[in-house]
């Protein structure tokens, strides 16, 4: 499976994602420049973390209108796999490929540390390498990751099973908006579209996908996305 990693002006996790896909999972990977208009037959497209166009106006707002996003939108509408991590999640929300919005963290601080998230559904390509309810440790690094959606949208997300990751404590117990790391509604750390082919998440799986990093909890996500879930990579047995 051919994979593409989009580089916006300001992306800074693009090489990390490339590394995981290319060197850890041995897939074919291309960088896709923000002003390109086609995805070069990539089947998995990753919008990486970092920044985009200075994040002027709002995080992801200008990137959502970049030329490559028209191709990403078409790909998503055809059922193609799209993964947005951190700033990439913000871009997907601004592009309305995912519902909701990401606001300044409750405590107004940039937070860079490991958190725990629970896998709320494991029937997506991205999560089929995990057990349902598995608690993963992953780093977050963001100032604007507080997920917000209207009550109506939150209900719809629940009904359609679109919440993929929630912030929890190490035992898997769910946090509240008052106690979770950034103030997200319903402790949401990642959501997918109705079709389940577009996933956005604030934690960084690419930063915990290799033994040398001391944590491989994120590897199964990429393995799943490229059809290698059955190999059980990075999953504690």
């Amino acid at each position: 499976m051919r994979c593409g990693v989009v580089t916006f002006p300001g992306s800074n996790c693009d090489h990390d994602v490339y590394h995981v896909l290319k060197h850890v999972l041995d897939r074919e990977v291309s960088f896709l420049w923000h002003d390109a208009t086609d995805l070069r037959s990539c089947e998995l497209v990753v919008l990486p973390g970092g920044f985009a166009y200075g994040d002027y106006l709002r995080g992801g707002a200008l990137a959502a209108l970049s030329p490559i996003m028209a191709a990403v939108r078409e790909h998503a509408e055809r059922g193609g796999l799209v993964l947005g991590i951190c700033n990439g999640f913000q871009v997907l929300c601004e592009a309305e490929l995912l519902p909701g919005a990401l606001r300044r963290n409750r405590d107004l601080r940039f937070i860079c540390r490991d958190v725990h998230v629970r896998v709320e559904r494991n029937d997506l390509p991205f999560t089929e390498g995990y057990a349902e309810g598995a608690v993963l440790r992953m780093p977050i690094a963001h100032a604007e990751g507080r997920y917000f959606a209207s009550e109506q949208t939150l209900d719809a997300l629940d009904d359609a099973g679109q919440v993929v990751f929630r912030y929890v404590d190490a035992d898997g117990a769910e946090a509240t908006p008052e106690t979770n790391v950034n103030g997200s509604e319903q402790s949401i750390a990642g959501v997918c579209n109705v079709g389940g082919n577009v996933l956005g998440m604030m934690p960084h799986p690419e930063r915990c996908a290799e033994d040398v990093l001391g944590n491989t909890d994120g590897l199964a996500l990429f393995a799943g996305a490229v059809g290698m879930a059955a190999e059980g990579l990075g999953v504690a047995v």
Binding site: R58, C93, R103, R104, L108, F148, A149, S150, T153, G183
Partner: protein, 95 residues
């Protein structure tokens, strides 16, 4: 020289103001309210921190300018999931 409607000759200035929606926690506004309190300003019930955009639009009447600015705010300047906006004409001649 093409004859234009008189009102279309000069650019029209429109101000778009964007605020977090009332039901949304605005930690920035809250922090500013706290700082104002520390400066001795009392009676601050609430502060909402927003932003504003001043657009100069050419070749349109005032009504058309408002309509276009509204569309721009809806599509880009505000994220209506979390923000409300107001659009108004600005008289740049005014003192």
């Amino acid at each position: 020289m093409s004859k234009k409607n008189e009102s279309n000759d000069d650019p029209v200035t429109v101000e778009v103001t964007v605020y977090p929606r009332p039901e949304i926690l605005d930690p920035q506004g809250k922090a500013i309210a706290g700082a104002l309190g520390r400066l001795g300003f009392d009676g601050i019930a609430d502060v909402r921190a927003g932003k504003s955009f001043r657009l100069r639009l050419e070749g349109v009447s005032a009504d058309e300018a408002l309509e276009r600015a509204e569309e721009m705010a809806d599509k880009l300047l505000a994220n209506t999931v979390v923000e409300d906006f107001e659009v108004e004409l600005v008289d740049e001649e005014a003192p």
